[in-house]
C-alpha cells in the first residue's frame, strides 16, 4: 500500500488519520473475500428486504458494535470492562424469565404460542436494561469510589455474573417464542432491525461526546486523571458514568443476542464477546492506556472482527478453529501498531521521500 505513495500533503493526512489502519484492514479482508469467495458481494432483494453476506457482517456484528460503543468510552478513561459478556447474559436471562417464567417452577414446558408473554414487552425491555445499568453502576462504583483496578473490579462480575444469570433462569435455557421480541434481533425493515438500534445508540453517544463537553472530560480523565481532578473535573463521576453506560450497551447487546437465537442461554450468550469488543476498540486505534478515542474507528474495528469471522465461515473453517485465526489476526494487528513498525514506516516515508519505496 506504500508502493503507490506520492509524497503529497494529502497522503500524509490520510495515513495520520485514525481511521486509516482499521479501514485498510477491513478493505484487505473484503478484497480477500472478493477474490476467493464467489458471490460474497451479491445482495438479494427478498420481499423488499436486503439479504447477503455483506449484510450478514453488519447484522451479526451488531452485538459487538454495541459493546464496542460502551467499551470505547471505558477504555478512553484508561479502564477496561471485562464483564460485558456476563452482563449480556444477565440481561438476556431477565428478559427470558419475564417472558417465559416456566423455568422457575423447575419444569420445562415448551410454549409454542408466538403471542404468549408473561409481561408486556416494554416491561421486559426496561427491566432487563435496568438490571444491566445496575451491573454497570456496580462496576463504576468499584472502580471510581473503591479505587480498585478496573481489570480486577470487572473481573469479579465476569466470574460471578454467569452464575447470577444461571441463578435467574434456574440453570435452564429459557425458550423465547414471543414474536415481537424476536423482531429485535431478526426483524428487517429493508436492513436488519438490529442495525438501526446500533445506529441510534451510536448517534446518541456521538452527539453526547462530541457536541457536549462530556467527550472532552472523558479524554482528559484518561490522559491524566489527577490533573483533570485539579482542573475541576469530577473524575469519579465521569468514570461512574462510562461504566454505567457500558453496562447499558451490554444490556442492549444481550437483548439483541437472545432475540437472535430465541433463547436465553445463560451459559453461552456473550461468551468471550468482551474480548471481541476490546479488540474492536484496539483495532480502532484507541490506546489501552486511555486518552483520545474515536467511536467510528471502533465501529470499523468491530466490522473487521466480524468480517474475519464471516469470511472464515464462508470458506468453511469450523467455528472452534476460528479462534486460532482470530489470534493470528490479533498478532498481526499488534505488530502493525507496535513502536518498531510505526518507527519503520515513519523512517521509510521521511528518508525515502520521492523514491519509489
Amino acid at each position: 500500500m506504500k508502493k503507490n505513495m506520492k509524497p503529497s500533503f494529502t497522503w500524509r493526512t490520510i495515513t495520520e488519520s485514525r481511521l486509516f489502519f482499521p479501514l485498510l484492514a477491513l478493505s484487505l479482508i473484503l478484497l480477500f473475500d472478493f477474490i476467493f469467495i464467489p458471490g460474497f458481494f451479491t445482495i438479494e432483494n427478498r420481499d423488499g428486504n436486503l439479504h447477503g453476506s455483506l449484510i450478514d457482517i453488519f447484522r451479526n456484528g451488531s452485538t459487538v458494535m454495541l459493546l464496542a460503543i460502551g467499551m470505547t468510552l471505558v477504555i478512553a478513561t484508561g479502564g477496561v470492562d471485562l464483564s460485558v459478556g456476563a452482563v449480556m447474559a444477565i440481561a438476556a436471562s431477565v428478559a427470558g424469565i419475564l417472558m417465559n417464567p416456566s423455568a422457575l417452577k423447575n419444569e420445562v414446558f415448551f410454549v409454542t404460542d408466538p403471542t404468549y408473554t408473561f409481561q408486556p414487552l416494554w416491561v421486559v425491555i426496561i427491566s432487563a436494561l435496568l438490571i444491566a445499568i445496575l451491573c454497570g453502576l456496580w462496576n463504576g462504583f468499584l472502580v471510581a469510589y473503591m479505587r480498585i483496578q478496573p481489570m480486577v473490579a470487572t473481573l469479579i462480575l465476569m466470574i460471578s455474573g454467569r452464575g447470577i444469570a444461571q441463578l435467574i433462569t434456574n440453570g435452564l435455557r429459557v425458550q423465547i417464542t414471543y414474536r415481537p421480541y424476536s423482531f429485535i434481533g431478526q426483524g428487517w425493515i429493508i436492513l436488519p432491525f438490529s442495525l438501526y438500534i446500533v445506529a441510534i445508540v451510536l448517534a446518541i453517544t456521538w452527539f453526547m461526546t462530541r457536541k457536549t463537553a462530556i467527550g472532552m472530560f472523558i479524554e482528559s480523565v484518561g490522559t491524566n486523571f489527577r490533573s483533570s481532578f485539579f482542573s475541576g473535573i469530577d473524575e469519579k463521576k465521569i468514570k461512574l458514568l462510562v461504566y454505567t453506560f457500558c453496562g447499558f450497551c451490554a444490556g442492549i447487546a444481550g437483548l439483541v443476542a437472545s432475540s437472535n437465537i430465541k433463547t436465553s442461554d445463560a451459559n453461552n450468550i456473550g461468551l468471550t464477546t468482551e474480548l471481541d469488543a476490546i479488540l474492536a476498540v484496539v483495532i480502532g486505534g484507541t490506546s489501552m492506556a486511555g486518552g483520545r478515542f474515536s467511536l467510528v474507528a471502533s465501529m470499523v474495528g468491530a466490522l473487521v472482527m466480524q468480517a474475519i469471522t464471516q469470511s472464515m465461515y464462508a470458506i468453511g473453517v469450523p467455528a472452534f478453529a476460528l479462534q486460532a485465526i482470530k489470534a493470528v489476526v490479533v498478532i498481526l494487528v499488534i505488530i502493525l501498531f507496535s513502536e518498531q513498525v510505526r518507527g519503520f514506516i515513519r523512517g521509510i516515508s521521511t528518508s525515502k521521500k520521492g523514491v519509489k519505496s
Binding site: M151, V152, F320, A321
Partner: protein, 530 residues
C-alpha cells in the same frame, strides 16, 4: 491486647494470607461439623487430588502476577496439552517423549508471549489473550472430538495410589479404605516447595518482586538499579507456560482423555485463587505459599457446595466471585493505608476519608455475604419444601453385577439410569424377542415391541454410533441435580461391552449420547405407586 496489635502491625503482609488459611480451615471445619461424609479423611485428600492442576498453574500465575503482568492463556494451553498428548499417544508415541514434548510446547508458547510483551511492548492482557485463542483454536485443528487416552504409563501415572503413612492404619482400624493421593499431587507439592525457595531465597526471586507494583514505576526503578528486568520477565512467562503444560498433563491424567473444550474459564479460577492467596494484582507483593491456601479455599467451596447438594454448581462461581471481591477489598484498604503512611502530611480529612473507605469496603463485603447467605438459605428452604428427596445428594451406584445377570438370562441389553431430579434408580433389560422389562426396586413394568425394532436399535448403536470401539469409553462425574448417570451393557454378535456416562457434561462421548437417544423411546415408563 497491645501485643496482638504489634503482632498484626509487624506481620501486616501476612494478613491476607492468614485470613485465607483461616477461611479455608473454618469452612472445612463447618463442613465436617454439618456433614458426616466430610469427616472422611479421603474427602480431605480429594481436595488436593481434584485441584492439583489448579495448584500447579496457580504457582506459575503467582510469579506472573508478582511482576505486574497477567496470563490469560493458561486454559487454552491446558486444553491444547490434553488434546495433543491424547492424539500423540493414540498414534503410538512413547509416553515419556510425549510428556517432554508437551512441556517443551508449553514453554515455547510462554516464551513467545513473553517475547511479544517485552520486545513489542504489548499489554500482557492482549498478548496472552491472543495466545489463548491460538491454543484453543489449534485444539480443533488437531481433533474435533474428545480423544480417549489408553496408555499403560499414563494409567500408572494417573491412577497410582500413594497411601498416607500415618493415616492408613487409623482408617483401616475404623473400617474405611485407606486415604491416598496421586502422583500429580506430589508433583504439585514438589513444585510448590521449589518455587517457595526460588522466590524467597534467590536473586531471581528478589528481581521478580522488585519488578512488580506501583503501576509500572517499580519496573523503571528496577531497570535503573541494573536488574535484568527483561530477562526475568521472559523467564517468568516461559515458566508459566511450563506450569500450564504441566497442569494440562495433570488434568489429562485425571480425566484420561483430551478435548479442546476442556477447562473452560480455568484462567479465572487460577487468577481468583492467586488473589485469594493474598497476592496483589498490581504486583510486587504476595507469596507463592498463599496461592496454596487460595486453591484450598476454592476446593473447599466446591466440596461444600457438592455436599450441600441442593445448591447448584453455579453457586461456586458466585461464591468465588464474592470471596475475590472481599479479598480485593481488603487488599485495596491495606494498600491505601500503606500509601497513606508514606504521605507525611496526611490530614485529618484524609484519615477520615480512609476510614469511610474502610467502612464502605467492610460494609459492602458484609452485605454481600449476608445477601448470598440469605438467598442460599431461602432457596434451600424453598427447594426442601418442593421436593424433599432432592435435597439429599443421590447415591449413584452402578449395579453392574445385576446387569451381568440380566445378560446371562438372555437379554441383549441392560440399561441402568440413576439420579436425576427424582433421584431414581431404574434398571431395564431388553430381550431379543422384543420384551422389555424395567424395575426401580419397588415397581416392575413390562412392555412388548417387535423384535425388528430391537434389532434395528442394536445395529444403529453398534455400527452407526460405534459402540464396540474405542470411541465409546467410561466417563463418570457426579451428576448435577437435573442430570442422570447411565450404565449401558450390550451383548451383540458375540461381543459384550458396558460403559458408564453422565449427561450434562462435555466428557460424555458423542456416540454415547446418540446411543441413549436410540434406547430412550423404547423404554416403558415406570410410574411409582402412590
Amino acid at each position: 491486647m497491645k501485643r496482638v496489635g504489634e503482632f498484626f502491625a509487624k506481620n501486616r503482609h501476612f494478613i491476607p494470607l492468614m485470613s485465607t488459611a483461616l477461611l479455608a480451615l473454618t469452612a472445612y471445619g463447618i463442613g465436617a461439623y454439618l456433614f458426616v461424609g466430610m469427616r472422611n479423611p479421603q474427602v480431605f485428600f480429594n481436595l488436593f487430588r481434584n485441584t492439583s492442576w489448579l495448584l500447579i498453574s496457580g504457582i506459575g500465575m503467582t510469579l506472573v502476577i508478582l511482576t505486574g503482568g497477567i496470563d490469560l492463556s493458561v486454559s487454552g494451553v491446558v486444553a491444547l496439552t490434553t488434546v495433543s498428548s491424547a492424539v500423540l499417544l493414540r498414534d503410538g508415541m512413547n509416553p515419556w517423549l510425549v510428556i517432554a514434548l508437551m512441556l517443551l510446547m508449553g514453554m515455547s508458547l510462554g516464551a513467545i508471549m513473553g517475547g511479544f510483551i517485552i520486545k513489542l511492548k504489548v499489554q500482557p492482557f492482549i498478548a496472552t489473550l491472543a495466545g489463548m485463542w491460538f491454543a484453543r483454536g489449534m485444539c480443533f485443528f488437531i481433533s474435533d472430538d474428545a480423544v480417549q487416552i489408553d496408555n499403560y504409563i499414563f494409567h500408572i501415572l494417573g491412577k497410582t495410589k500413594i497411601l498416607i503413612p500415618g493415616l492408613m492404619e487409623l482408617s483401616l482400624s475404623q473400617g474405611k479404605s485407606a486415604p491416598y493421593i496421586t502422583i500429580p499431587v506430589v508433583v504439585a507439592f514438589l513444585l510448590l516447595l521449589v518455587m517457595i525457595y526460588v522466590t524467597q531465597y534467590t536473586s531471581f526471586g528478589r528481581t521478580v518482586y522488585a519488578i512488580g507494583g506501583n503501576e509500572g514505576r517499580n519496573e523503571q526503578s528496577a531497570r535503573l538499579m541494573g536488574l535484568p528486568v527483561d530477562r526475568t520477565k521472559f523467564l517468568v512467562y516461559t515458566f508459566n507456560g511450563f506450569c500450564s503444560a504441566l497442569a494440562g498433563l495433570s488434568f489429562c491424567l485425571f480425566v484420561e482423555s483430551g478435548h479442546g473444550l476442556y477447562a473452560p474459564g480455568f484462567e479465572l479460577d487460577v487468577i481468583a485463587s492467586v488473589v485469594m492467596g493474598g497476592t496483589m494484582l498490581t504486583g510486587g507483593s504476595g507469596y507463592v505459599f498463599g496461592t496454596f491456601f487460595g486453591v484450598l479455599v476454592l476446593a473447599v467451596t466446591q466440596a461444600l457446595i457438592q455436599f450441600i447438594g441442593s445448591l447448584s454448581s453455579w453457586w461456586t462461581k458466585i461464591v468465588i466471585g464474592a470471596l475475590t471481591l472481599i479479598f480485593i477489598g481488603v487488599q485495596t484498604v491495606l494498600a491505601n493505608r500503606k500509601s497513606g503512611r508514606q504521605n507525611a502530611e496526611a490530614t485529618v480529612g484524609a484519615v477520615a476519608k480512609r476510614r469511610t473507605q474502610l467502612r464502605l469496603a467492610l460494609g459492602a463485603g458484609v452485605l454481600l455475604v449476608v445477601v448470598v447467605a440469605g438467598v442460599s438459605i431461602s432457596r434451600s428452604g424453598s427447594v426442601a419444601s418442593v421436593d424433599t428427596s432432592a435435597s439429599a445428594p443421590c447415591v449413584v451406584e452402578f449395579r453392574k453385577a445385576d446387569a451381568d445377570n440380566l445378560i446371562q438370562g438372555g437379554a441383549v441389553m441392560a440399561y441402568q439410569r440413576v439420579a436425576g431430579p427424582q433421584c431414581v434408580d431404574e434398571l431395564y433389560a431388553i430381550y431379543p424377542d422384543g420384551r422389555i422389562t424395567g424395575t426401580d426396586g419397588v415397581n416392575t413394568v413390562e412392555k412388548q415391541v417387535s423384535p425388528d425394532e430391537i434389532e434395528e436399535m442394536l445395529v444403529a448403536i453398534s455400527v452407526e454410533h460405534a459402540w464396540f470401539t474405542n470411541e465409546i469409553y467410561d466417563t463418570y462425574l457426579t451428576p448435577c441435580r437435573q442430570c442422570f448417570a447411565h450404565y449401558i451393557l450390550i451383548s451383540y454378535n458375540g461381543q459384550e461391552k458396558g460403559a458408564t456416562g453422565t449427561d450434562g457434561t462435555t466428557a460424555m462421548p458423542p456416540g454415547y449420547a446418540f446411543a441413549l437417544a436410540e434406547i430412550r423411546p423404547l423404554l416403558p415408563e415406570i410410574t411409582s405407586a402412590p
